[in-house]
């Protein structure tokens, strides 16, 4: 059998989005482990040259569907093309970004193919499995590990008998890494006109406003995150000041985002971005599992909290018990003193 690992590459404004590149990186590793090919699917319009963004991630085959009806993304035509492609190519694994697009598309495709789909995986590894009842043994099944129940449990999900094994993954969970900048593979074009008909165009986009991603804290090595305990938008200025000085970015908990102190793009956690910087300073953040899920792999963690029993302190390397508004000015002061 030579069933490949497939990654759906989402396109926004002529660019392959970050999470797709992260999944290609993961896909390459998975493919190597079980000695399969890595294949990418790109669906959109005016895609000439798109392979230059994709091949460096070690992709062996790119399937391109290029047609004016295919951008911006619409569910039905994309789902139809992918389902047809998968029926033909019989992938072993198929990965989608857990984005507005991926979470709309992947379930539709899985339903068409009657195969299993695991949402929002935080880890994907191969492992073996023995079915309890039948004693049947499976080699190299994809363990799809995901939080559920509002982040309170972590479940390992498998799809023993259906293919592809489909999963979605949020941005920032997997690491993006170029495999080989001169790597080249094969390009295959999909004949769109033989697949689509008018029924696939039942939804029409009338208006569309997508903002460019303004901040991307994910790639920052130093993150100063503020929570509800920061108290106000004005107090967040202290965090920006410290971040500027250290060359870092400002992150936030959901409570701080909900309170309107900062923009959602900065939210760290299960429903925000996942980060693993060298240094994470949590200011006035209690440490709910949904927050720590997005930052507990940081190399060093400092917690600033006026409650010595705040749960976040358990995973911190340094615990500073005090008020954010008192601690940060001192950090700034003594940073300056020690770097002079």
């Amino acid at each position: 059998m030579n069933n490949s690992i497939f990654v759906y590459c989402e396109i926004e404004d002529g660019q392959v989005v970050e999470v797709s590149l992260e999944l290609l990186t993961k896909g390459r590793k998975l493919a190597n482990e079980i000695d399969r090919k890595l294949e990418a699917v790109v669906i959109g319009h005016n895609l000439a040259g798109i392979e230059k963004q994709i091949f460096p991630y070690g992709v062996d085959v790119i399937h391109i569907a290029d047609n004016s009806r295919l951008y911006p993304y619409l569910t039905l035509p994309h789902a139809e093309i992918i389902a047809k492609l998968f029926e033909q190519e019989q992938p072993e694994v198929a990965l989608f970004g857990a984005t507005s697009v991926g979470r709309d598309l992947a379930p539709r495709v899985a339903s068409k193919l009657k195969c299993g789909l695991t949402a929002d995986c935080t880890s994907l590894v191969f492992g073996d499995h023995t079915e309890n009842k039948t004693g049947k043994e499976y080699k190299n099944l994809l363990y799809q590990i995901r939080p559920a129940f509002g982040g309170n449990i972590i479940a390992t999900i498998i799809n023993p008998d259906t293919r592809p094994q489909m999963a979605t993954v949020r941005e920032g969970v997997m690491k993006k890494e170029v495999f080989n900048s001169t790597h080249k593979g094969e390009i295959k074009y999909i004949n769109v006109d033989t697949i689509l008909n008018d029924n696939h165009m039942a939804v029409e986009i009338i208006e569309r406003h997508i903002e460019k991603q303004k901040v991307n804290i994910k790639n920052s090595q130093i993150i100063i995150s503020g929570g509800y305990g920061v108290g106000s938008k004005e107090n967040f200025d202290l965090l920006y000041e410290l971040a500027d000085m250290l060359g870092g970015e400002v992150g936030a908990s959901r409570a701080a985002v909900d309170a309107g102190f900062v923009d959602h793009a900065r939210q760290v956690g299960q429903t925000g971005v996942t980060v693993r910087p060298k240094l994470y300073i949590a200011c006035g953040i209690s440490g709910a599992v949904q927050h720590t899920a997005g930052m507990n792999e940081s190399a060093k963690i400092i917690s600033i909290n006026n409650d010595p029993k705040a749960p976040i302190n358990q995973i911190a390397d340094y615990v500073i018990t005090g008020n954010v508004e008192d601690v940060i000015p001192k950090m700034i002061k003594f940073y300056k003193k020690n770097t002079k």
Partner: protein, 289 residues
Amino acid sequence: MSFKIVVLAKQVPDTRNVGKDAMKADGTVNRAALPAIFNPEDLHALEQALRIKDRIDDAEIIILTMGPPRAAEIIREAMYRGADSGFLITDRKFAGSDTLATSYAISLAVKKLQPHLVIAGRQAIDGDTAQVGPQVAEKLNIPQVTYCEEVLEIKEDELIVKRRLERGVEVVKAKTPLLITVHSSAPTCRPRHAKLIMKFKHARTVSELVEETKDYTEMMTNKPYLRIEEWSVADLDANVESLGLSGSPTKVKKIENVVLIHKDSINLTVNDKDMDYLMKELIDSHVIG
């Protein structure tokens, strides 16, 4: 214009505040210890249906839920807020369903009801997958519009809807029959209405009537709207193999409780000495600077 809407609603354990007593020794959440609630985004879905009913004289709202017998509670809850009737699909054969098997069962029930529009929540707070909406649409072979925030225009054969995306908004026109899923940025549901509570407080499923000590026969005959229909596998014309565990390609291999790993931390206070020490440490170890 007559317009039939089916709202999909799930009864879920309130996972937003899981206390210690809700975890069993084996690491699983003890569902029984969590209060059962109307899935939050499904209330947003119901509100969208009610807003359509506000605008169209002849609109009808049917609540459809799949779950154990007690899930009839959320059907009554929806009636108190303006839903006209409810269907509960319940059967032991549904146990162990993943999203594919769940969607298959729900789609069979929707087929019997023949609505113009199906409205689901975006995501349930227990399974957390957001897969059921799109999969029901696929099983019904109808288009889907996910993450709706507002229905801007309604005609019998077409809707114009505003969607909330991660980094923007989109306005789309879609043909009916259609399934939409509603995002939490849409308005939440209006409160219960005192008159509707009076009207529907005795609404019951057949299974609930069996448990009642009071005789409901006369009331049910005079007020047929009090009947909450209950459908089992036999009523759905289902392929039994596609339901429950056997119809679920995903299997849960393992479930772990989330626990914070305890680190040995260095404790500091806000005095100058501690702060000076901390910043020196960070600089010397090249974490910063």
